[in-house]
């Protein structure tokens, strides 16, 4: 219930601020104003270009280590109950991913050539 209340207030605040602005602001559009803003330079060409595959590698590695970190949350919460057993378990888990990390490192996946 508090979560729902929080979401409702947050959504109402955001939408309310936008709607209040829409009610009171002046609307005098001209072509230059409606153009996408590119730091004062006239935009040239398509906004959608092909991205480099490097972004994909970085995102993929991020997802993997993000999941690794997610596994550590419940581990940390119950660590005082399970103790050494859980510690060894997590060491194995981290070691396996460390192998992957070293592989990515040696293959220069982190380098932006």
């Amino acid at each position: 219930m508090p979560v729902v209340l929080f979401l409702l207030i947050a959504a109402a605040f955001g939408l309310g601020a936008l709607m209040m602005g829409g009610l009171f602001r002046l609307r005098r559009p001209y072509p230059e104003k409606l153009m996408p803003y590119e730091s004062g330079i006239d935009p040239v060409g398509e906004p959608r270009q092909r991205f480099s595959v490097r972004f994909y590698v970085i995102a993929m590695l991020f997802v993997v280590f993000d999941v690794e970190a997610v596994f550590m949350y419940p581990w940390a919460v119950v660590f005082d109950r399970i103790g050494l057993y859980a510690f060894v378990e997590m060491l194995i888990f981290i070691f396996v991913l460390l192998v992957g990390y070293l592989y990515a490192w040696k293959k220069e996946a982190f380098r932006w050539e």
Partner: protein, 168 residues
């Protein structure tokens, strides 16, 4: 009250999933999917699975959708979208989804709610979800947990290998 929330969330998930599938613009699809993942996190909250809900938002909405966006921008799908190869496969798609639907309807008669394990709703509420999950995951399901690390390792190696091969 709970039924009302469930109805809203379930309905929203269905509508948003349809929007994901029917969007012409692949980037719009991903953004609809983001909203759908947030609603699914809401469904997890209703199931007393707070940790799962937070993970859903952080990992799926935060990380995996970024990956989807990168793949779409990598392929730059705008021109390829109208190509034949993406539309000719529809009879196969329809038959597979119909088959899954029939299998699910057949399984519906075997659906039971009276089974009880050691982790009832009250037990999970008492220990809190994250603790309950940790307790089970790091003792009983130790092997699947370690296998998960291997799966992640394969993901790293696969991504690095594929991408680096293309760069050379």
């Amino acid at each position: 009250m709970v039924e009302l929330f469930f109805g809203y969330l379930a309905g929203a998930v269905v509508v948003l999933s349809l929007l994901v599938v029917f969007s012409r613009n692949a980037v719009h699809s991903v953004l609809w999917m983001l909203l759908m993942f947030l609603h699914m996190a809401g469904l997890y909250l209703l199931l007393n699975a707070e940790f799962l809900a937070a993970t859903q938002v952080i990992v799926y909405a935060g990380a995996i959708l970024v990956l989807f966006l990168f793949v779409i921008m990598l392929l730059n799908i705008t021109e390829e979208m109208r190509l034949e190869q993406f539309t000719v496969g529809w009879p196969m798609g329809v038959s597979v989804s119909l088959g899954v639907l029939i299998a699910m309807l057949a399984a519906l008669s075997g659906f039971r709610t009276d089974l009880k394990g050691p982790w009832s709703i009250e037990a999970v509420e008492r220990t809190t979800h994250t603790k309950a999950l940790g307790k089970v995951l790091y003792t009983e399901y130790m092997l699947p947990f370690e296998i998960a690390s291997l799966v992640l390792l394969v993901a790293i190696v696969g991504a690095v290998y594929l991408a680096k091969k293309r760069l050379r």
